[in-house]
Every structure is written in C-alpha cells, then in structure tokens.
Subunit: 259 residues, 2 copies
DNA sequence: TCCTCCTTGTAAACTATTTCACAAACATAT
DNA sequence: ATATGTTTGTGAAATAGTTTACAAGGAGGA
C-alpha cells in the first residue's frame, strides 16, 4: 500500500468528499472516534468501497481491522478540500437568491467567509445586506485588489452572467459558482461550477408520469419513467437503518430542528 | 433511422435537455427558425455529437442538410421534460433559501407553479410569503390531498430533512428537490435530486492553489490542481465565439440586464 | 505464539457516458 | 439530372466512474 495520487481526481469523488466531511463533523460532535467504511455506507448510503476508493486518491487514511479515526480523517479531508483555512468569497447579485446565500449559516461553518457583495442596481448600491454594504459591480476589480478573494458566487440574471463573469475574471477571481443557466466562457485557469434549479426541476418533472393520459397519440415521449437518481438511496430492507449512533445524532440536534 | 427509445436515458442527458430548452426559447425570441447541431455547440459549448446523441434517445428531430426547426424542437423537448403542462410544486421550509426560491421568476416561466408553502415554525405559520400563506407542515398530507402536487422543494435544516421527507412521501409527493446535504431515504418510486452549495463550494475550493505554501511538508494533499470542470467552456481560439445571432439575443434583453 | 476475525487499499471487471467517424438524407447549384 | 456540400442519426471506440473481489494488515483471544 502506497501511492501518492498524481493523476486526476474525479469530480464526483470531490463532491462526495464534501459529504464525508460534513458527516464526520457530525460524528465528531457525537464523540464517535472511530468509524469503518461499512458503517459509513450504512449511515450515508454511499457504497463502502466507493468511500475507500475516494480516499485512496489522496493516500491512506485507515487502519485495517480497525477503521478510520474520525477526527483525523475529518481534518485531513478538510485539508484536501482546502476548507481548513478561511476562504474569502464575494457575491455578485443581491437579488432574492443572493440575499438568501448571504444568510446561509453553512457558509461560515465551513470557513467560507463572505467578504463583499456587489450589484449593478443603483437602487441597491450603498444599502446594507446583512452585515455588508452592497458595492457597485463596476468597482469589483478595485475592491478585490485589496480583498484578494478568489471564489465568487454569481447570482445575477442570465443575460448579465457572462458580462459579470468577465469582470470577475478581470478582478482576479479563480473559481465561480454560477447560478445562471448558461455555460460561461472563461479562461482555462478559472474553474466554474454550475447550479441550475430549473435543470434540477426539469429532471424531476421528466420522471413524473402524466396525470391525464388522454392524448395517447405521439407516445414517443412517454418513456424512461422508471429512471433512478444516482443520488437517491433505497434501504435494502424494511428496517430504517438508523442505528443508535445516528439516532443519537438526530436527538442531539432535534430540539433546534424547527425550520 | 428509426428507433423509439425504450431503454434508460442518462441523467446528464436530461440535464442538458433542460439547457437546450432554455437556449431554444431564447433563439425563438430572436426569431431564429433553424439551427444546426454545430451552431448549438458554438453557442452553448456543448459538443454537437452530444447534442444529437441526446436527442436520439427520444426520436428524430432534425433534417439532414438543414438542421433543427427551433420552435418544433423547443416544444418537443418541453413535452419530453413534461414542462409543456403546468406542474404543481410545494415548498417546505420558509427560511432564507425557501423565500428566495418562491420569488424566483424562472419557476413560473418554466410552468412550475408553486401552490403551497409549509414550515414548522409557529412564528411563521399563518404569515404570508409573497402571495401564499405559510402552512403548518403537519397539515401537508391533508392540504396536498386537495392540491395533488407531486413535486416538492425541500429547504429545511439538515437535521429536519429526513423527517420532512417522510411526511412528503406520505402526502403523495413523487419527486423531491433536496437542498439539505444528506442522502434521503425514500421509497423506490420517489425520485430525489440533491443540490448542495457547500459541496459545490468545496469542489471550487479544492481547485484553488494554496496562497501561503509555507508548509511544504505533507505534500500528499497538494495535487490535482489542474482539474477541469466538465461544465466549464473554453473557446477554442482567441475570438469570442459570439456570432451575430447570439449578440442579437444579448442586445434584445440587455436593457433589463441589471441584477 | 498461533488462530480467527475484521477491515483496509486496490487491481480488475463492469457499467455509464462521451466522442469519433461515417453512411444516408436532403438542399442547392450547374 | 448529376454533382457538391451540408448536416443528421448512430454504431463503435474511447473515456470515465463504480463495484467487485481479494490479498494483506492489524486486533484480540486462547
């Protein structure tokens, strides 16, 4: 056993790493100090071998016959994802979505520090959004030359997205979380992740059966209704698969569980 | 040429279908009536063969030597995704994120009709959220027995997500858009899509280089920095690749382009 | 010590998705 | 009519990602 990853890490692996991290943080809070890959599967629904394979891209983390040390693994994954240090984030677009993201407590919890908010609506510029003042997006290069944020959240209308993305790149942004449903054109060193609600809803909608099947005509489209999300999880038996540990975790927080 | 799809359609194909749909709607508004797969690639960054292959799961849509009729293709894709008819949607969780989603204009534009909002916070129940009243989540089964919504947006805190999901399934919900960063356990007929901001941000964060590389020690983790998003788009040459058509599209809407 | 049990890390098999490459379809010009 | 150019739809090849299967490491008891 030995191989320090050099090749590429699949994106799905990185996504799962974030899931593991959150899961491990929860375990740590329940004072669990060791966990096996089989137990991870039982509690998260992610295949045990997948878990081990994901980790294997980065080195060796467990002890055969024992499992993984929760707090050690947690901090090593945090380090891999570079969320062990504070990452500065700027937000562009102080609309509904943008405002919601500013207030999202998960950001701070994971060391993402929102340091500036921008918009191009003169009615908004200068006003406060939570603890930050909304700046003119035209000033982003200037402002970020002091802040040195490298991650941006792009939450502007579709038709403005590409222009704002160009500004972001010019301002030294390296990584963009794009909520507009278009593919941004950016230089090769800039990494983009897209999130599209409509895309997600459309995939859900596709999997529904039509209520009123009065038009049995062009049946060409009525297919694939048994598709399965790669994300959904079906317990293998009737039992609910929540073990003591997990129930404990739920109990711990259940008193604050009002949405 | 002939084959009416019977097998499974890849999820990535469905996701792209939503992208095509939105793109075609834009084209239609610019009075473009025909488009080739090569032109789709030029304007969206999605490989032309991929576009054709995606469509091929559902039948034949184009004419060799000509291309695709924009409005025909648009309506056929809408039909495939079942966004040609209004789909009722309920929202659970009237927090920041939930509120933002209610106000998202893209929902209505794509025929997703938000018909009810639920929460379990007694301070919120009974109050209005935009044009809807916030209902007690405990009443969801009763209320949805009249509404018959089949899609739910789940925007509650992580620790409440599984319990609410159980309620949703019991209330006849078939499809869930889950914003909590956990894998929901649901019956096999329920389709789930997960959206996790933290996961997205973590993937972005991973791809950043560390600023202060003072600790050249355990270098095991400092790898993979040249990963490429499958979503990002790099123009093949210096030119900006926006042709007249696309520029026209931008111009049409640019006056409303303030975020 | 030796035996048994458990669990990791990973090579190999398998499955899924994307891209290539080309025959067939159609348009247009001569 | 025939030639030429364009573009589709799709097998087949290539690539990417997941799961299986198992050798080897380590714990713990007799």
């Amino acid at each position: 056993m030995a191989h320090i990853n050099n090749g590429k890490v699949p994106i799905p692996t990185l996504e799962r790493l974030a899931t593991y991290l959150r899961f491990l943080i929860d375990l740590e809070q329940c004072n669990v100090d060791t966990i096996s890959s089989a137990e991870v599967e039982r509690q998260t629904g992610i295949n045990a071998a997948q878990f081990r394979k994901d980790l294997s891209y980065f080195g060796e983390f467990g002890k055969p016959g024992v499992g993984y040390n929760v707090s050690d693994l947690q901090s090593r994954i945090a380090r891999i994802l570079k969320v062990d240090v504070e990452q500065k984030v700027v937000l562009v677009g102080a609309g509904n979505l943008g405002s919601a993201l500013v207030g999202y407590p998960g950001l701070k919890e994971h060391r993402f520090n929102l340091v500036a908010v921008f918009d191009n609506n003169y009615g908004k510029i200068g006003k406060p959004l939570w603890n930050l003042e909304i700046n003119d997006v035209a000033a982003i290069k200037d402002i970020n030359s002091k802040l040195h944020a490298r991650i941006a959240i792009l939450a502007v209308p579709t038709n403005a997205a590409q222009r704002v993305a160009d500004l972001l790149v010019d301002a030294g942004i390296d990584a963009i979380l794009n909520f507009a449903p278009i593919l941004l054109r950016v230089p090769a060193h800039v990494f983009v992740r897209n999130v599209s609600f409509l895309q997600e809803l459309a995939v859900l909608s596709y999997h529904l059966t039509r209520d009123s099947d009065s038009d049995a005509g062009t049946a060409k489209d009525r297919i694939g209704q048994n598709g399965k999300s790669d994300n959904e999880y079906h317990p293998k038996s009737e039992e609910h698969l929540l073990n003591d540990l997990h129930l404990a975790a739920s109990k711990t927080i259940i008193s604050e569980a009002r949405s």
